[in-house]
Subunit: 163 residues, 6 copies
């Protein structure tokens, strides 16, 4: 996506001095975010933006906010979800998804059967439940890495998908 | 290490249904934990046990506690660090390392130049500072994944390295 | 500002059924945000956006984010400050200002002389220190009011000042 | 009330150097606390004392504790509510009211329809629900202002309504 | 003290069904609060009131607030300390004492040598440092016991020592 | 138990300089932990290990972890419960017990009738409910005392009961 937009996301440069980590990071990212089947691409980006907002990760909110706007074809949703997903224009399915993703991000040690049961009742398959947890987990890493290393978003991300 | 001990760690089986994630997870893990140079192997495991204790991740504390005991050749250190690293038998270097790792685990959004400066003053290179942040970040993911999916440690881990 | 843009901010409508509170709210708002002297207009909006981000107030981040972009003549600063002001492009003066504003927003009960002393050392007058505390306090109210009453930002705010 | 008691509350003096804010503050305060209809005067003061206790605001607990004792004609209720309203002598209606007020004070970003629904079921009108949120919000500001500026209660407040 | 006032504190009745615990509780209480030497009696009660306020223990704040007023010969100090000791009329020695007591109450796992060093610099002996920690610890138990069992203060406590 | 193992637990030595507190501490401890009837000995130790883990008390986790292993005749249970009791091999009765114990340890001020009701429904008597609260309360003290005074577990505890 960035390629099409003609710039290299800063996180690529920030990880370039560590080729093995670079390869593993993007292989993992793509395995979760580009995988066939399961959650829609927009749903996955929504998990990223919501949890990255809770973790106060500027890079991930700005970069993945852009991708969410494009994938959801909605110019407003990323800012809504980043600040407070409870006040965003969401379907009941999306609310169930972000309730679980928030708990993985902030309180994973207390997750139990009732949390997964609530997702099943909202229509999620076991495979999709894994996706939500794995994406919230991966950005639990990514947010920490970016905040610890002071990686900043490219200016080009801010306006993508707004118009 | 588990191989030598003759059992397959449960996290392998838990990730097996997702081959791409499996490969990326272990490639990332090995890139951080088995990398030549930088932190000692025992220091890396100490970061894992300390942050996994703070994140209340039973699998990671038990499994990596075993590896820490072996790598540090110290039967007591893992239990000490898992419960409260501030009360463990540590060198000033190790305390500086875990102070930073704890902030990555619990409060990465507030990390700034003074935090990295404290590590430089304690003798850590830039490369080692990256290692600490990256390991604490990776287990920020791993702890969440394991807690969300209820992955439990193999019984065989509990006694490894205890004497 | 909204007038010039040709729309009525939703908070006006939300407060309209309470004329006395409406008048007091906007009199207070203007006394703090439009007052002559002291902090610049951009600095005041920066306090609003930073503390409203911490309080997860979608309305205030989106609406005052727009005003901050216009007043600071900077299309990127609002998104940066809303997600994590520590990672934003700020001067040392602005960092001192937001350090204090954050403490008023999240931990006012622990404020003491050293907090105000740090502002004096950063060049703030007593009058400006009052402004920071009063603005962070006022939006401590406004954020709660808006979140409790589910007041949503007008769509028109999202794109204002983005270039 | 203070007038009748023959002293000027310190908050008047503390705000006097800011005439516009002074006028707006007291206009807002009176619009919420002296308004005809809706919650009883004692209920309003109970919200103030409970949330000011949670925010550790000495001025508001001591000053409004005095008013609560007088309005509720109960010499003990203010100290009970200030320390822990869950352990105070309250009606189910008052418990529902303070459950919501506490959430506005501490966790407004998570308020949603079920919170308001619980108040409706406890017999509160929409108008009264607004009152609770608005009062808890206003003292969210007032508590922060007072704590940031180190405003202390007049000695005369401590004994009012105790005997 | 209660004896002289002619009533039996409710905590006596609440513990009476457990004679062994009753005896141990009051033996421990007296060993800490009535011990010869070390902190003054008023200082000890100040620790109780401050930490019990932080733990939101109504019984302990009301009952020991009364004793603090009497022992400190100060009708206002207990209410000040219970709500927010940082805003109370305290000496630098008392502030150092309550800084440590607060950390024992809320964050004991992070206490280290620098915390005790600060007390030494404020003039406290090792014996007195133990007292502060032991009293804050004992009321860490007492506050939890009382809150779990819903033990309420006698009405007679509220007015004791108020003038 | 330690006697049989031929060593004196460090907490004995740490309290020895305060004979009155020493006697009261162990009288209280034995009244709760050795009392006839009510909870089993293993259940009591499980409460200690779970709450001491939450309070990050190394001494209590290591020492009482040993006793729990012996009393429960289970070499793995202590490490499981210390890190995250939600992920341990527990019966529904034990989960109900630790849910309440955790609330006493971390959030006693919010305990109310529904919390005790849940225990009654899980089959606990009033007497046993008192036990759970009293044990969690006592170790709320003990954990703080030990952390404040840097009391470390004897090396001999680590291997007891491991098989």
């Amino acid at each position: 996506m960035a390629e099409k937009s003609g710039f290299v996301p800063n996180v690529f440069q920030a990880l370039a001095h560590r080729p093995d980590e670079f390869r593993a990071f993007f292989a993992y990212h793509d395995a979760l975010m580009e995988r066939e089947g399961g959650l829609t691409k927009a749903e996955r980006e929504m998990i990223v933006v919501a949890t990255s907002g809770l973790n106060q990760c500027q890079y991930c909110v700005v970069a993945h906010g852009a991708i969410l706007r494009i994938r959801a074809k909605n110019a407003l949703i990323a800012d809504q979800v980043a600040v407070n997903w409870r006040k965003a224009d969401l379907t009941p399915r999306e609310r169930a998804m972000l309730t679980y993703a928030e708990k993985v991000a902030l309180n994973a040690q207390r997750i139990g059967e009732p949390d997964r049961q609530a997702l099943t009742e909202a229509g999620f398959t076991e495979d999709e439940i894994w996706d939500i947890g794995a994406i919230a987990g991966f950005f639990g890493m990514s947010n920490r890495l970016v905040n610890a290393a002071d990686i900043r978003p490219n200016d080009a991300f801010y306006m993508l998908g707004r118009g």
